[in-house]
Symmetry: C2
Subunit: 457 residues, 2 copies
């Protein structure tokens, strides 16, 4: 399709054009994602199984693979208006720098205090908790983006928010912690003495700096043990992908408005919430045979769940308290290296995206972190925005694709997700500037351990 | 005026509606700001006096108090499009929280990587340097916002950028430093061995952690000593206020579009660049008798140049190398306390704003930092945005005014400038959360020292 109108640097939708429903791509999938299994019985999780842990409405969304659209409640739409619509940016300056005939667009989700797209689901989850009359929610956070987003959402709805923050991050990222405290959240370094599992771990490993798996276990235990509390999660789950479709829906509306059709859509992939949210509406068209797109998931070479993982049932958490999900996974015992893209250090992948990948509807690439930071710096210098290390994985591949177009002369239209800003990641940038950043690629022996005793389905 | 249309949460102008000219309020002032004086001769600075230090075009803008509008060059307008128009936000949530009949708007300048409005002038100054064929520019930075903005601007135009960063900030704010390095700037802790004045100061005070005054002196010496370099400054100067009028012009266009007329306009005031930029177009109407507005400058009680200063000629820098300016000042020897709003720790005030204040066209209030942080936190929790300590001075007074309206029942329309975000100020927030923040009000003896030998005009 030809561009018929001069495209502005940034396309902002009017409030009246913002999506009023989230899209559930599972409804259009012929091969549905495999169901979550109860870790004790290996039977599919039911509404009753899940409701002690998650809010009722969120359990419904989690289990519903047939309804194509969920209404976005008015209160959530009002909150979205405080920081959305997010801009769809035409990267004119990057295009010129690369001297590429490609047209590059990015959907920028970093213009809010949480610094990422995480807020899109945090506010939804907080809303349903409030609607259910709950007092508060618990969660874990590693790098801190999800914890920050949830703190903001809970503050807005006057809900208590208890965040278990991996101890090493709690100590190394005091600023993230203070942002959460500004929004009234209580932040506990994990493992802690506030839970049985925390005490047990501390007794066994007195000097431990914690892990995401342990923090999840503490957050779940706390939610289960307190009246009027539930546990919430910022990625991986299908409900989260549904909420994040606001990213893709806005992108599509903005592009349609100007007659733009992307050829390639690129996103970074950790648990899959951003990538799934960005591509869902486009994938829906592909699944329904209405249009075709190339989708590329980008993951760190140090944590390559799609490109080197196994498609199998596995635990979602290293503590093995959560349901089993069928997904591309490196094994719940996989310990990712200290890659600076904290949001991509996850052993598994959304079961929706895993199924789409397995069906050949989406590609995946892995990239090393020094080349990611080179791309990040190149991008920052021409486009102004200082990107998060996670988002920079998508930038790296978008630049690769644009340079391919330069060779072939193709005028492809590239859309990528710029999920957030790197203001709290300057330690990583400093290492990069000082030439102290290294790359790490796991050996085959490091991968795919710990599947014994899991269901083979 | 009545609101005729439903006002959105955020008003974004179209690119075609963005200002094409900056406004120079001096053209409409009956009492012009007093001229800069040569510190040696006490005669008004001429074009020839200033051009070794500043770019030619910027000297012209500095000295021109009759031309009402300056064209914004296309290249600068293109750069503005990468992060502007900035949103004019209706603070619906804050209004509801305060239960006030007042209508509160804020112009948010924090949605760019520099995190503040500083970029508006940085890109202009870098552009004129490039146009003049220069190789690079030098500057000083304290807290780092200006240095970051200038680094971004120089990176865009491929200019060398040498930043002298006050040593204590260089060491305590490594993240700001790394952002500047990401944009390719060289950042030197000041005082340094790279300049004569730096060596002299280091010899006399071996353990000194530096000061803004010293960093200015080093930056000026470096610019004067290198072929193809000039010095640039981020506030106080009239040229900077002119560039910053893009803030007020956009605000006015957005408000006019929806038939909104502000009654009260509030901004924080350090050197005056943000406040001057915000109020100029409205002040112009007031000066021409076309409309009336109440203007309020907000400054820290610890550095009260307008509310407790003297209107007199003084040095702009503590190193006493810059021209003399007539302004409200605490004396160039005044040492501000370690208030956390680094951008407001300046002994003087823009000569334009000083004259307007002296003519009774603008009010000023001083506020203490603990109440400022209380307002900041209250704002963050309902409006989402984590404000910079500087900006929070304006928030504090906007809330005060809105609460007054609650008492009187008046439905005033309040506009304030939200100049930036506080992501790099979490040390200050942490102190506030921990109850360790103190207030400081200087005694009369602390103020107004060092005027001996200065011209009395």
């Amino acid at each position: 399709m030809k561009e018929t109108t001069k495209i502005p640097y940034k396309i902002y939708l009017e409030e009246s054009e913002m999506p009023k429903q989230w899209y559930n791509v599972r409804a259009d999938m012929k091969n549905k994602p495999a169901p979550l299994l109860n870790p004790a019985t290996h039977q599919p999780m039911t509404f009753e199984d899940l409701r002690p842990v998650f809010c009722d409405e969120l359990v419904k969304q989690e289990l519903d693979d047939t309804t194509a659209y969920f209404d976005i409640p008015q209160e959530i739409r009002d909150f979205y208006k405080m920081y959305r619509p997010s801009p769809l940016v035409r990267a004119y300056c990057l295009e010129e720098k690369l001297q590429t005939p490609a047209k590059i667009y990015y959907k920028f989700e970093g213009n809010n205090t949480s610094g990422s797209h995480k807020l899109n689901s945090a506010i939804a989850q907080a809303y349903y908790a409030k609607q259910q009359g709950l007092k508060g929610v618990t969660t874990e956070t590693g790098a801190g983006q999800w914890g920050t987003a949830l703190s903001m959402a809970c503050s807005y709805f006057d809900l208590d928010c208890k965040v278990y923050m991996v101890k090493v991050s709690y100590e190394q990222k005091p600023f993230r912690r203070e942002v959460m405290r500004t929004y009234g959240a209580s932040v506990t370094p994990s493992p802690s003495e506030t839970t049985e599992v925390g005490k047990r771990i501390l007794a066994a490993h007195p000097g431990t700096t914690g892990s995401l798996g342990c923090a999840i276990s503490e957050a779940v235990e706390t939610a289960l043990g307190m009246d009027g509390y539930r546990y919430v999660l910022g990625s991986v789950l299908s409900q989260v992908l549904v909420h994040q479709t606001v990213i893709g829906l806005e992108s599509k509306i903005a592009m349609d408005k100007y007659g733009i059709k992307p050829d390639v859509i690129i996103g970074c992939a950790g648990g899959g919430s951003n990538l799934g949210g960005l591509i869902s509406p486009f994938m829906g068209e592909k699944l329904r045979g209405e249009a075709d797109y190339q989708f590329i998931a980008v993951e760190p070479a140090s944590c390559p769940s799609l490109t080197r993982g196994k498609y199998a049932y596995d635990f979602c958490d290293t503590g093995m308290v959560c349901p089993l999900a069928k997904m591309y996974t490196l094994g719940s015992g996989f310990i990712p290296s200290a890659n600076h893209a904290g949001g991509l250090r996850y052993h598994g992948m959304s079961s929706i995206l895993s199924q789409l990948y397995d069906d050949g509807l989406m590609e995946a690439r892995s990239v090393e972190q020094t080349e990611v930071f080179r791309a990040a710096e190149q991008f920052a210098r021409v486009e102004g925005i200082l990107p998060a290390p996670e988002s920079s994985h998508a930038i790296k591949v978008a630049i690769d694709e644009a340079l391919k177009c330069k060779e072939t002369g193709e005028e492809k239209t590239i859309l990528f997700g710029l999920t957030g800003t790197g203001y709290f990641d300057m330690v990583a940038y400093e290492k990069f500037h000082n030439g102290e950043m290294t790359d790490y690629i796991p050996t085959d022996a490091d991968l795919q351990v710990g599947f014994d005793g899991l269901p083979q389905m």
